[in-house]
Subunit: 143 residues, 2 copies
Amino acid sequence: MSANSKLTVAAHALAWIGLYQRRGHEVATSEQIAASVNTNPVVIRRLLAELRKAGLADSRRGVGAGWMLSREPTAITLLDVYEAVEPGPLFALHRSTPNPECVVGRGIGPAMTTVYDDVETALRKELAKTTLEDVLRGVLNAT
Amino acid sequence: MSANSKLTVAAHALAWIGLYQRRGHEVATSEQIAASVNTNPVVIRRLLAELRKAGLADSRRGVGAGWMLSREPTAITLLDVYEAVEPGPLFALHRSTPNPECVVGRGIGPAMTTVYDDVETALRKELAKTTLEDVLRGVLNAT
DNA sequence: CATTGTCGTAACTGGATTGGTTACATTAAG
DNA sequence: CTTAATGTAACCAATCCAGTTACGACAATG
């Protein structure tokens, strides 16, 4: 089953930072974001560290430290976030390799891989359509 | 991460049954299938039980028992299999509900849901393109 | 230069999920 | 009645993940 709320939380965090900056603040703290997400600050820091590695966010240290976006909300797509946060493939093959003596055991991997590749391509294309700016607009409209 | 090998194994099992039937046999046993997948027969039975519930496979009991397809391979798409085997949504929202006092906390759920709906639609459309017949052909070509 | 507020990160925990395994009742052919 | 298979419950071990605690690193500020 999908335990996959990482993308949601990542988008939440970025949206929060984006909105906060738009209101004139320099940086947002992991504690503020955690309060909105309703989780622990460390969870947020870990997640944002991945986004930083992907060049989507950045952090300052010391007093007055916190997080900011590395790019304009219009220049961050959900595909960027997805890739930063979900490295593995959507569908996996077998966990223990199937019987190589069997035609199906040999052929099923390649056969499914081509399908999965197409599915992932479609998924990426769809995620690329939405920017953080769109998310921000959606968030404000939902009020 | 994707621990999602269920779809792969389900397709494997159905392909095995399909090929076996095509070669003139009436039914395939969970033990035969398990030997090809390289797992335990009970795992296969559990999985096939789900596919049976979805009307894709059927089973006989008693001596000479086993499994058969309920429809022609051309009439079974990977979307059918996916729906039979993966009931939950691809992306989940937060596990603990976000802070409703916060604009982002309130709006992020609806905003992401619309995106996720589009993504799932794209994914389903892609999975619907491939039938078990296609998989079977792919398996045999891979040899 | 000491204080302070925040990040960075390791380590541990508890809960949930999952695949595998054993065991045994049920079923139907011969 | 015997036999070969499914149906299903129960349990185990491994894995994963979010949450939590703890503490070191860092930089602004007075």
